[in-house]
Amino acid sequence: MTFFLDQLLNGLSLGALYALIAVGYTVVYGIIQLINFAHGEIFMIGAFGALSTWIVLSWVTGGSTAWWNLPLMLVGGMLVAVLTAVVMERFAYRPLRNAPRLAPLITAIGISIFLQEFVRLFYGRIPGFPDAKSAIPFPQIEFFTGDAVNVGGLLIHRGNFFVVGALGVCWAFLWWFVNKTGTGRAMQAVSQDPDTSRLMGIDVDRIIVIAFAVGAALAAVAGLASGLRYGNIDFKMGFLAGLKAFTAAVLGGIGNINGAVVGGLTLGVVEAMATSFIPGQFGGPAWKDVWAFVLLILILVFRPQGLVGAKVVDRA
């Protein structure tokens, strides 16, 4: 039973990570029906941004790992991620807004490869920064990493607190942002009908940039959380995580923010359970990614609108 609960918690924290990234896919898709393939790389950039912030801080602090590093790293990661996402939107996606659907998809692949390679080749060339061609150890921030905490017989990995907490805060923030602010309502309007929204005086371009930025900020949170959880980061981390997060977004119903959260958590739990409870050779960590993608395909067959899905998937 303890083992089961352990795995459940493990799955939930993994799922929270997916959920944070999935929101980025879903927000952008909800507004311009674009699958931003390169979003996984934004997550990776966010992690590297957080790491870089810590490295720069450490030149002053001599490598302190005190808790107050964390908010600074978060801000640093978010800045870099949001900047990348906004530049990407402006120069790669915006000119293609009326192009056939294939064009932005291919562009996204191009950006994805470019960003990965860019980090791999050039990150280490910045003086004082480690070489990014292999995995880089992530700083161990006090309280958020270290020995697992024993809560009523359950051992909880400390990194999990951060990611689950972050998801909670972000979700609440998103709810407030989308429903209670003018910008959020404008976003809803644009996702319903961009042309009419434009006629109503909404700056659609600005809304789209904000959608990209919000997604990127959350991806940066996930990047930092991932660093804390796994203890290292590398330039490839965005590819698989992005793919999983997309699966989560589809699972919940793409275009739906709550769906992304539910989908992320579900995917995380399913993955953890599949790893622990599928007996025989096809269980275990070696197959967990396969099961996640099989789930994606099954969802597309049986419930393409997703678990929560309010949005119609098939666009005429």
């Binding site: 998809l105 562009t107 950006i111 080749l121 994606l296 998937v313 666009r315």
Partner: protein, 579 residues
């Protein structure tokens, strides 16, 4: 690309004649400078240090200089010949060509060419001092030619593509172009020096620019449309002759075979992406499925399947395995929406790679020995023909890779046949209709799902065939040969070359494979550059280098002039008059 307008029309009007003299003189001087030493020592490029003995690259430069001089001179020759009624048929053709535009393109071209040569010399020998005086003469000549050509008033729009030339002229032209292409490719492949390779690429680029701007390119493409069959057959004939130009060296043939495998796979992918409009990001997995199938059924000591049918059967099974996987992936996703297919194929690529790595005996049944794969796959032996042995034909020894090259050429022919024939058929029309308006196509009775599945599974089948051969060429098959980046690389070939055309993709594939192979410093940045290239191509020329006309229309829906232009050029088969 616009050159900043220092050379305003007013300026051009005033100094028109000066410009012509400058361009003519610059071109001639540039050509003559090929006989001067350009470099201080013979170690740079292909030895440009002799007085009176031009190297090959210098000859190529001379050729460009002569083109420039000729184009500039045509501004005088034409009226002169016109006044005297000399060679009326030739003159008629000449009047359709855009000589001035050609001169302007070549003017920039010679400057770029000499610029690259001088930079290469400087880099290879260390410092500007290593450029010999002849090099500076050439630079001055190129500058004069450039400025002169810029000073010419804007030339007429070429209309050579409408010139009706005799069939024999057409066929000779096709033959000449292909032969020149073969020689250039063979020459480029033989270069070990990266700088030389770049200079050859620059030469090819300048020549292409000249051909396109002067209208000769338009004529050539009209010719190739008129004689499509001749073109296809002679292209294959030229490719077939290629191994005979290598004097038995297998080093280049190894590259050529890899290029051919890559190109054949990319053409297969182009059926899916270019014709049916489906973005398949896991295409390499289908190649991999074919390769693993062939490997497990090969004579290798590590092969895990005891049944050893003849290779033809293995190849078909490999194709069918890939096609079946395609059906399994495609049938759920093709029903929903195009975007999902892209992601699911991406996921499928990962599933394939992970599964292959796991089939190692501990995480799954030991089918392919996990990440170490199946090594020591022996050479093929088809109908008593040993692919591993050297065969001497007409006194020229043809090694192992040449043998596989011929086999791949055969497979390429099959894939090209499938591609073109499907494109020009009821099915091809259905694909276009689906790309244009899926709902309307469905409502008109087009079997949308069936056609998509056909493209997807058919593409997978062809990749499976190529994979079966690849297993034997590479002699080993491991999961890490079939990763997502390879799929992206294939996609880049399609995007760069041209969606929906064979020629474009072959060109794209050749460039993408050869450039990193020949330029070591590019190799490291290869994926970075190709990622960037895909983004840039989608912005500036989404239809690719050699595009399909319909793709141009789709990507440039707002450009009315372009639409009208293309409508006029539509091949007969789309219009009524054809029947």
């Amino acid at each position: 690309m616009r050159i900043p307008t220092i050379f305003t029309p007013a300026l051009q009007k005033r100094y028109h004649t000066v410009g012509r003299v400058l361009a003519l003189a610059g071109g001639l001087l540039f050509a003559a400078s090929a006989y001067l030493p350009w470099a201080y020592s013979g170690d740079a490029l292909d030895d440009m240090s002799y007085l009176g003995g031009p190297s090959t690259l210098q000859f190529l430069g001379m050729f460009l200089g002569l083109i420039l001089a000729f184009c500039a001179a045509m501004g005088w020759i034409e009226p002169w010949a016109d006044a005297r009624k000399l060679f009326p048929p030739l003159l008629r053709i000449s009047k359709r060509a855009g000589w001035t535009r050609g001169a302007k393109a070549t003017g920039i071209g010679v400057l770029v060419y000499i610029g690259i040569v001088l930079i290469a010399i400087t880099l290879e020998l260390g410092g500007l001092v290593t450029v010999e005086w002849g090099g500076w003469v050439a630079l001055v000549a190129a500058l004069a030619g450039f400025v002169g050509s810029r000073l010419l008033t804007a030339g007429r729009q070429p209309s050579l593509e409408r010139a009706r030339t005799a069939p024999w002229v057409d066929i000779v032209a096709i033959a000449l172009v292909l032969l020149a292409g073969l020689m250039l490719a063979a020459y480029a492949l033989n270069q070990v020096d990266g700088g030389t390779f770049v200079v050859i690429l620059a030469f090819a680029g300048v020549l292409t620019a000249f051909l396109l701007r002067s209208g000769i390119g338009g004529w050539l493409s009209a010719v190739s449309r008129r004689h499509r069959t001749v073109l296809v057959f002679s292209a294959f004939a030229v490719a077939f002759l290629f191994p005979f130009t290598q004097n038995g060296s297998d080093a280049n043939m190894s590259i050529a075979t890899q290029v051919l495998i890559f190109a054949a796979t990319a053409v297969g992918l182009n059926i899916v992406v270019g014709l049916a409009g489906l973005l398949d990001l896991g295409y390499i997995a289908f190649l991999g499925a074919g390769a693993f199938t062939a490997a497990t059924m090969s004579q290798s000591a590590f092969a895990t399947i005891g049944w050893k049918p003849p290779f033809i059967v293995v190849m078909l099974i490999a194709g069918l395995v890939s096609a079946t996987l395609g059906l399994i992936i495609g049938s759920p996703t093709l029903r929903v929406s195009g975007d999902y297919l892209a992601i699911v194929t991406l996921a499928f690529g990962e599933i394939f790679r992970i599964t292959m790595s796991n089939l190692d005996g501990s995480d799954g049944p030991d089918l392919v020995h996990g990440s170490s794969g199946i090594p020591a796959i022996p050479n093929l032996n088809l109908f008593g023909f040993d692919f591993g042995a050297v065969h001497v034909v007409a006194g020229i020894p043809l090694g192992r890779f040449s043998n596989y090259f011929f086999l791949m050429l055969l497979i390429m022919a099959v894939i090209v046949l499938v591609f073109t024939r499907l494109n020009h058929s009821r099915i091809g029309r259905g694909w276009v209709a689906i790309r244009e308006d899926e709902k309307a196509a469905e409502a008109m009775g087009v079997n949308v799902f069936g056609l998509k599945l056909l493209a997807f599974a058919g593409g997978a089948f062809l990749a499976g065939l190529a994979g079966a051969v690849k297993a034997h060429v590479d002699q080993s098959v491991t999961p890490d040969q079939y990763i997502f980046l390879e799929s992206a690389f294939l996609l880049a070939a399609v995007v760069l070359g041209g969606m929906g055309t064979v020629m474009g993709v072959v060109l794209g594939a050749a460039l993408l494979k050869l450039v990193p192979e020949k330029l070591r410093f590019v190799n490291e940045y290869r994926m970075l550059l190709f990622g960037l290239l895909m983004v840039i191509m989608m912005r500036v020329r989404p239809e690719g280098m050699i595009p399909n006309q319909r793709r141009v229309l789709e990507f440039h829906a707002d450009d009315e002039d372009l639409v009208d232009e293309i409508e006029e050029d539509l091949p007969y088969e789309f219009a009524e008059e054809g029947s």
